[in-house]
């Protein structure tokens, strides 16, 4: 192998990119070539552990001597067709003149943010660390919770261009092996140019990709992922994304919060009921209000009817347009507060919510009951933030149904939607389990939450090894 020619070929393959670096040194009459990416490698390790020992080497350098001389931990022998792939992954590739053997030393380094509390799932009690964009850090965060040989990690490369590492993490002996095979097969069959975030996989792994329902679980915290793996789920860690996915997924998972497991079980039960009420308010609130106002005013209590009539008589729009207008206004404010820097976002929200709302009412453009109904619906939406996009869609759909068909249409819409959700089964797991089909044992941690020692078995909503989780005699006096 001619070192200089080989280096030129590699550089050409990498389009002579600015961060491709090479070194050619003569050691005891042997030419040694090194190729690496400046942007992806640790300069200190390169100098101290590779370049310096080679420069100081005295004698005749052959391949075996080369292996002994360089000192990074992760050194492997590679084939010629693997050179570019290794360079791109942050390794330094070393060749010897007139030798067909090639060495690759992993000295990957790039600046990463440390694990910090994710903004999407803050807790009052409980662990605060969150995943980062580096999959190795994420693996470490999971491994720290399982000091057991049963934790298995398998890797699949997804994306023709991005060659993104997707790690399947699961507990052997707990997870259903067929499920792992199915997920792996589905990942291997994905033909896509690249994935830049785990969300790309969400749709690709869904049984109904066009559905608006979320069919793959996600979390940003290792304690949540560990808990899900303990139940027999498979976690998917995608390089470059702080969101770890879990399969199988049921709607109930989003109804549960990590806070529920770090507080009293009775309080958790109460909060879960509050969440259900909030979901119903968010989804059906505006639609029901408009249905009662337009179709069923005769069923409203007389005093309430007078209040509504009083407050709406000045409003120039129809009730439907009025509610739609306020909903859209809230949505715009939400989008603005997300896009703007936090200090501006807060100011805009205050201006929007207080000033626009208040002046709107005073100007007679909108009525106070309508503002209250929409505000309650929008606030209630964020009791289950993971489902906010789905609920927002339903909010508009039910508003339209309520305005055009009334109460009968609203209940019909609910039946239609729930029947649709019931027909969704991703990886053979019913979306609405354990409510429908009703699984009694899984309802110990559904709407009601029982104390930990009573949750003795793994969930039956999806397939797993179904072993006992908790020995009932443990922790008790004999």
């Amino acid at each position: 192998m001619q070192v200089k020619k080989e280096i030129e070929q590699i550089k050409q393959k990498l389009h002579n990119s600015v961060d491709v670096a090479d070194r050619v040194i003569e050691i005891g009459g042997t030419t040694v070539g090194l190729v690496y990416l400046k942007s992806m490698t640790d300069n200190a390790i390169f100098s101290g552990y590779i370049f310096e020992p080679l420069a100081k080497f005295e004698g005749e350098l052959n391949f075996e001597e080369l292996k002994k001389t360089i000192r990074p931990n992760d050194v492997t022998e590679i084939k010629e067709d693997e050179i570019v792939k290794n360079v791109l992954k942050g390794a330094v590739v070393i060749f010897l003149e007139n030798s067909e053997q090639i060495l690759s030393a992993d000295i990957l380094k790039f600046n990463m943010r440390p694990p910090s509390e994710p903004p999407t799932s803050p807790v009052i009690m409980g662990p605060r660390e969150g995943f980062t964009e580096d999959y190795k850090t994420n693996i470490t965060l999971i491994r720290r919770r399982f000091h057991d040989e049963n934790l298995a990690l398998e890797s699949v490369l997804v994306g023709e261009e991005t060659q993104t590492q997707v790690i399947l993490a699961y507990l052997d002996g707990v997870v259903d092996k067929k499920l792992v095979k199915k997920i792996k097969k589905k990942l291997e069959d994905i033909k896509i140019d690249g994935i830049v975030d785990s969300y790309y996989l969400v749709t690709l792994l869904s049984s109904r990709p066009n559905s608006f329902l979320k069919q793959v679980g996600s979390a940003e915290k290792p304690d949540i992922i560990a808990a899900k793996m303990l139940e027999g789920r498979v976690a998917l860690i995608v390089d470059g994304s702080p969101i770890v996915l879990t399969i199988p997924f049921v709607f109930l998972e989003d109804l549960q919060s990590s806070n529920d497991y770090y507080t009293n079980y009775l309080y958790s039960t109460l909060i879960r009921f509050v969440r259900i009420v909030a979901i119903l308010l968010a989804t059906l609130g505006p639609g029901t209000f408009i249905a009662l106002q337009l179709f069923h005013y005769n069923v409203l209590p007389f005093k309430y009817l007078i209040t509504i009539a009083d407050s709406t008589q000045q409003v120039p729009f129809t009730p439907f347009i009025e509610i739609l207008f306020i909903l859209l206004l809230f949505q715009i404010l939400y989008e603005v507060s997300l896009r703007l820097p936090s200090y501006l976002g807060l100011a805009t929200s205050v201006v929007g919510a207080l000033i626009l709302g208040d002046t709107g009412v005073k100007a007679g453009l909108i009525s106070p009951p309508a503002v209250i109904v929409v505000a309650i619906a929008k606030i209630a939406l964020y009791t289950v933030p993971e489902q906010s996009s789905q609920i927002t869609i339903l909010q508009y759909v039910f508003l339209l149904i309520g305005a055009s068909l009334g109460l009968l249409g609203l209940i019909g819409g609910m039946i239609y939607f729930l029947a649709y959700a019931n027909s969704v089964e991703n990886f053979d797991t019913p979306y609405l389990a354990p409510f429908s089909p009703f699984i009694l044992s899984d309802n110990k941690d559904a709407l009601f939450k029982v104390p930990l020692e009573e949750m003795t078995n793994l969930p039956k909503s999806f397939k797993n090894e179904n072993k006992e989780r908790f020995d009932e005699s443990s922790g008790q006096e004999h």
């Binding site: 179709f295 029947a419 649709y420 089909p437």
Partner: protein
């Protein structure tokens, strides 16, 4: 296109029967029974529910004898293909007629109570997409969805009954109607019953494990007790004027609303009426589709859907538009259709039993 009808379990099966036991039996029927047989109308309900329970017993008997076979297979085996087609054609007529009756009773209730003089099209537009969707989604999806709403239905019905007790005006049941008149009323108003035919149609799609028949019987029994209680409370609340108040479950709460100061709690009963109506109509449509499949095996489910919707809409729009016509339809035409479950099913069962015994004897 074929609908993937996957199996349902004992709970889902029981809940579907629970829904079948209600529907229009809690609206206009108690009023009509009172009109014909006064307080003894209550015993007609008890008797007819007894017959429905007997049909359930018959179902379990057939299921035990033929655990995996469908009802159509049994019929074909015993009465050849011609017999099967004749029976299933009668079933088609039965389910379509029952759907029309149920829709009309419910429509009239909605029009009078919550949709003041709204056009028939609005109510049709609410019902048709939902029942079509439920029927196309398959029996399992329908069963699971019903299972999801079941606690709500149970809770509301229980609430209505408990509240209704406070509105009872008198606890005296008097017996002053001759038996012949009671019998006549029974035959005239038999139409809302007999829906148990549905369970035979889906016989092969029900998986009932050992001992789970108890679940089905308890759910069916609970539904029967609830409807009987609604009838009883209604008749005891409007002791002399029951025939004037055609929406029983809704009306039993009126006194408490008016005198107890609880506000418009009768609205709650509307929710359960709506839920029962949706599922009950979906069950009829599903049954129609399954029967259509047997009568016209070469046509797919699209044809059955289109046929049902077309005939249903035509009848509902052009022929039955008010309570009087509906009552005439229910009293004079439908009783003949009810012959199907109450006479044909026992005949089929006895024939099956007889032939099997004969074969075993040989």
């Amino acid at each position: 296109m074929r609908v993937l009808d996957r199996n349902i379990n004992a709970w889902q099966f029981g809940i579907l029967i629970f829904i079948l036991m209600f529907a229009n039996k809690m609206l206009v029927l108690p009023s009509l029974l009172f009109e014909g047989a006064k307080m003894q109308g209550f015993f007609i309900v008890v008797f007819l529910f007894g017959l429905e329970m007997a049909l359930l017993g018959l179902f379990f008997y057939l299921k035990k004898q033929y655990p995996t076979e469908s009802f159509a297979q049994i019929l074909q085996y015993k009465f050849k293909n011609v017999g099967k087609v004749i029976f299933y054609t009668l079933f088609l007529v039965f389910f379509l007629s029952k759907a029309v009756l149920l829709y009309n009773v419910t429509y009239i209730f909605f029009r009078n109570m919550i949709y003041k003089d709204t056009s028939n099209f609005l109510i049709l537009f609410c019902f048709l997409p939902i029942i079509n969707h439920l029927a196309i989604s398959g029996l399992r999806v329908m069963g699971r969805t019903a299972q999801l709403f079941f606690p709500v239905m149970l809770l509301i019905v229980t609430f209505c009954i408990v509240v209704g007790f406070f509105g009872i005006n008198s606890t005296v049941i008097w017996f002053d109607v001759p038996f012949i008149k009671i019998l006549g009323t029974l035959l005239r108003h038999i139409a809302p019953f007999g829906d148990m035919l549905f369970i035979f149609i889906i016989m092969d799609k029900v998986v009932i494990k050992k001992g789970q028949w108890k679940i089905v019987f308890s759910l069916t029994g609970t539904a029967a007790v609830f409807v009987i209680l609604i009838n009883l409370i209604y008749m005891l609340s409007y002791t002399y004027t029951s025939f004037m108040h055609p929406y029983a479950i809704f009306e039993i709460m009126s006194f408490v609303r008016e005198y107890g100061g609880l506000g418009r709690i009768d609205i709650i009963s509307m929710i359960v009426i709506i839920l029962f109506a949706y599922f009950h109509l979906a069950i009829y449509l599903k049954s129609f589709m399954l029967c259509f499949e047997q009568v016209f095996p070469k046509l797919n489910c699209i044809y059955s859907l289109v046929t049902f919707n077309f005939i249903f809409v035509i009848i509902v729009i052009f022929f039955i538009i008010n309570l009087e016509t509906t009552v005439v339809f229910g009293e004079q035409i439908l009783p003949y259709v009810i012959v199907i479950p109450y006479l044909l099913l026992p005949i089929i069962a006895v024939t099956c039993l007889f032939k099997k015994r004969k074969k075993e004897g040989k």
